[in-house]
Symmetry: C2
Subunit: 192 residues, 2 copies
């Protein structure tokens, strides 16, 4: 997705610690118009698929998930919660998640009533690096007996193992851009 590459080059910032900061348009300040382009791009990648539900994770996945839903007949978006809020009830699917960004371990939770074996689920998230978030979401979808259509990530750090690890399990993963290498000194290089 060339528009996304250009946006990352223009507005992204590479920080020490292998951080690509895109919070001017994706995950702190949100460019809603641009998100619609992102949703369109996911539709293009998964146009051969029937999707009845989008599954994502708070917080950064929510906006991307909702934007993408518009192009899949406004299907419901379910976002996994980190931890267990008082108002969630006990009837939930859980999976462990380690967040490298926050340096903490979570359990993610999704109420059982919002995923069923009749659902064809597209998992959406903003970043794919070590694949921890996607792995946890895949686990939830599998616990629910859903048909997993695939996973869509806005930005994949292809030099980290998450994407290939998930693909090696036979799960379809589509990333709108894939980063081959990245450093403060040399900038960013995308995969072809």
């Amino acid at each position: 997705m060339d528009a996304l590459k250009n946006r990352i080059i223009t507005d992204g910032k590479i920080l020490d610690g292998d951080i690509l900061k895109v919070d001017s348009f994706l995950n702190h300040q949100i460019d809603v118009t641009f998100l619609n382009e992102i949703g369109t791009a996911f539709k293009e990648r998964f146009k051969d698929c029937e999707v009845t539900k989008i599954l994502t994770i708070e917080a950064s996945g929510i906006a991307v998930g909702c934007a993408t839903s518009q192009f899949f007949n406004y299907c419901p978006v379910v976002f996994a919660k980190k931890g267990q809020a008082k108002n969630m009830g006990n009837d939930a699917y859980h999976a462990p998640l380690h967040s490298y960004t926050r340096g903490a371990d979570f359990v993610i939770s999704v109420s059982k009533q919002y995923l069923s074996e009749n659902d064809k689920v597209l998992i959406i998230d903003d970043f794919l690096a070590n694949g921890e978030a996607l792995k946890a979401l895949i686990s939830v979808a599998q616990q629910a007996g859903c048909e997993l259509v695939g996973c869509g990530a806005v930005i994949e750090k292809a030099y980290q193992p998450g994407g290939d690890m998930i693909r090696s399990k036979g799960i379809r993963v589509e990333s709108l851009v894939r980063i081959k290498s990245m450093s403060v000194e040399n900038g960013i290089e995308f995969c072809q």
Copy 2:
């Protein structure tokens, strides 16, 4: 907003502990079509206002904020983060926040670069009860020197003090539905 009252009556669940569970369409599973109706309703309430930025808070405010943005010329949505992620940097506005739902204290953070004194800010959130989240967001907007257009809440528990407390400071608060009373035994009564 009658459609929202009907949706709450149909799909909402009142639980012990003064909890109104609307996670089938608003804050766990998201009905994206219905969110557009909610965004339309906020536009109707604030149609006299120029809005350059929507400010909300993770996680439940994000979807509502993005849906509302569409009706204010797709203005950027900034969501406050709970805590301080590694990739945020130190140049942020902070405000304290007590979450009754989670029974915990947070600091919320918004990067300084995404709010300025030139911004006309509409604050959006899903629930207004004790007003803790809105108070924290108002503090952030004021620290940034923004013009605060007002606050929009999807559901206000009008029997709790948050809404009136904020209005008493001369800040405009528009809630799409206001709940007069609520109990497991007697159900829900809306304000006129």
